[in-house]
């Protein structure tokens, strides 16, 4: 559902009735997309709206928030057992911005544990099902946020993207999802997985809604020292040179669909040679940062704890072993390994050097092109349980991780269906050129 459609609903029956209808829909849903539904808070705000007391650019609009973004008084779990009882005492910057504009936070969405996955199958709360086929995954890690948008269980949603976590589920669910330039949106209140790679971003059913949400959440916040201080205002821009990244591939049926869309435009094909290092570089960096970030979970200050206190090292190791899932443990351990004496030079530093090559290659490409394009995912949505071993799952991120390494913005747009399943196209922009991406997305929309 788009904002314009929701506003019509508000006019027809008022906000309380509209929200009640939405809550019923959520209750009936089989998708498992929400971890927590903010029923009472939402109804209270709906009442305020009907009395004319709720104002702002998002007044009365239900927004879903990924469960790794803190919300005062509303449980925030990162879909992990270790945070399953955690109730934050502060709002993330993006949540402050939503509230300031009168948005109604309708619930917290399911995800891969700490964002570590491509299917939401690592969630402590179970997998999110794909609204287009309940036997398939919604994608990850922001699978809940994508599924609720696709299924009309929210009008807007926030996700976070460390290596494709917005774009992958957006592609699998057939919606729009944008990963902003690194530093455009404050990460204050985003529970960290890999700080140097991740950004919070908007998910929506159309380009205008997506752009509006980005306008609201972007901008200066001194509580995130990597915040650029820049804001975003949506306007159409001229696109003259389009590049297709030839060595970002997908299975044949997806490539056919991709070229069916792209053949409406003049484009050039380019090859970015450093991309062959991207997956390895990304996983080494993400795991290393994760091993450091997730050291904070100690069963003392918040989160899951063990009733039995023992020696420090034993207690800490036991709480973490019981509280983290398998994929999270794997990444923490591999990160510790990559940073340990003797391996730092071989893995971590090499990954950062590869990152330099990727950054430089993209900079050169953007000297020539306005936008770069590829299929978002190499495959159609997987069957639940289909991806058995971790490395096969990591390889599904091959087209999405390069932009996180480079800090560039990228966008998934739905371009149709293959075998009844959604296909997404990825548009990559130069630093802070979200408007060029959105303008090209608009051009594609006009053709379909």
């Amino acid at each position: 559902m788009r904002i314009s459609e929701w506003l019509k609903l508000l006019e027809e029956k008022g906000c309380v009735e509209a929200i009640k209808g939405l809550l019923e829909k959520i209750e009936r849903s089989e998708l498992n997309a929400y971890i927590t539904v903010c029923k009472n808070e939402a109804l209270k705000l709906a009442e305020d709206f009907d009395k004319g007391r709720l104002r702002g650019k998002l007044a009365g609009i239900p927004v879903a928030v990924k469960d790794n973004i803190t919300t005062t008084g509303v449980r925030t779990t990162c879909a992990s057992k270790i945070l399953s009882n955690y109730v934050p005492i502060f709002d993330a910057h993006v949540v402050e911005r939503l509230k300031a504009e009168g948005a109604i936070i309708i619930g917290k969405t399911n995800m891969d544990e700490f964002g570590m996955g491509t299917t939401t199958e690592t969630s402590y709360f179970g997998v999110v099902k794909n609204p287009h086929d309940l036997t398939r995954v919604a994608g990850g890690s922001s699978g809940g946020s994508a599924a609720v948008i696709a299924n009309g269980e929210a009008v807007l949603a926030l996700g976070s993207d460390t290596g494709g976590s917005i774009r992958c589920p957006a592609s699998f669910c057939g919606i729009y999802g944008l990963k902003p330039t690194y530093g455009l949106v404050s990460r204050y209140g985003l529970i960290p997985y890999a700080n140097s790679l991740e950004q919070i971003g908007p998910m929506a059913n159309c380009i205008e809604d997506l752009a509006l949400l980005l306008e609201i959440i972007s901008g200066k916040d001194e509580r995130d020292s990597t915040n650029s201080g820049r804001g975003f205002v949506f306007r159409m821009e001229k696109i003259s040179k389009i590049g297709i990244i030839k060595n970002m591939e997908a299975e044949d049926s997806i490539m056919d669909k991709f070229y069916e869309v792209m053949n409406n435009f003049d484009y050039e094909e380019i090859e970015i040679s450093s991309l062959k290092y991207a997956l390895s570089s990304y996983y080494v960096i993400a795991m290393s940062e994760a091993s450091s970030n997730l050291a904070r979970y100690d069963g003392v200050r918040y989160g899951y704890f063990s009733p039995q206190l023992s020696s420090w090292s034993d207690y800490y190791s036991r709480v973490r072993a019981e509280g983290f899932g398998e994929e999270v443990k794997r990444r923490i351990m591999l990160g510790s390994y990559a940073l340990s004496a003797g391996y730092y030079g071989k893995y971590y530093l090499k990954a950062l050097r590869a990152r330099t090559l990727i950054v430089d290659d993209f900079k050169n490409a953007f000297n020539e092109f306005d936008v770069l394009v590829s299929p978002t995912m190499p495959s159609l949505p997987f069957k639940i349980g289909e991806l058995k071993d971790p490395l096969t799952m990591y390889k599904m991120d091959v087209n999405t991780v390069p932009v996180n390494l480079a800090g560039l913005p990228a966008l998934n747009i739905p371009v149709g269906f293959v075998k009844g399943l959604p296909v997404g196209l990825q548009i990559i922009g130069n630093y802070f050129e979200e408007n060029k991406m959105l303008s090209f997305a608009k051009m594609i929309e006009e053709f379909s």
């Binding site: 390895s280 100690d298 003392v300 800490y316 923490i332 480079a406």
Partner: protein, 93 residues
Amino acid sequence: MVSVEEVYYVSKLAKLSISEEEVEKFRKDFEEILSYFDILDEIEENIKPTFHVLEISNIFREDFERESIKQNKVLLNAPRREEGYFIGPKVVE
């Protein structure tokens, strides 16, 4: 090749107890994943590492007093607390 001892060693570094059943599975996964990372060996040593992509540094704010979070709020999520303190496991034997 990754040995069982290395997996135990790294689990100690990461403060994660792992069981005997888990260790072999992790060993196999690590071997497969780490050998995939070997492509990074091709990267030349003379390339500068990129720790952060934004070309900003030393972001300071004005240094003035401001209200901080109240002590009782900070302790709200703590499983064990006493007289305004967290209770943790014994650090010194």
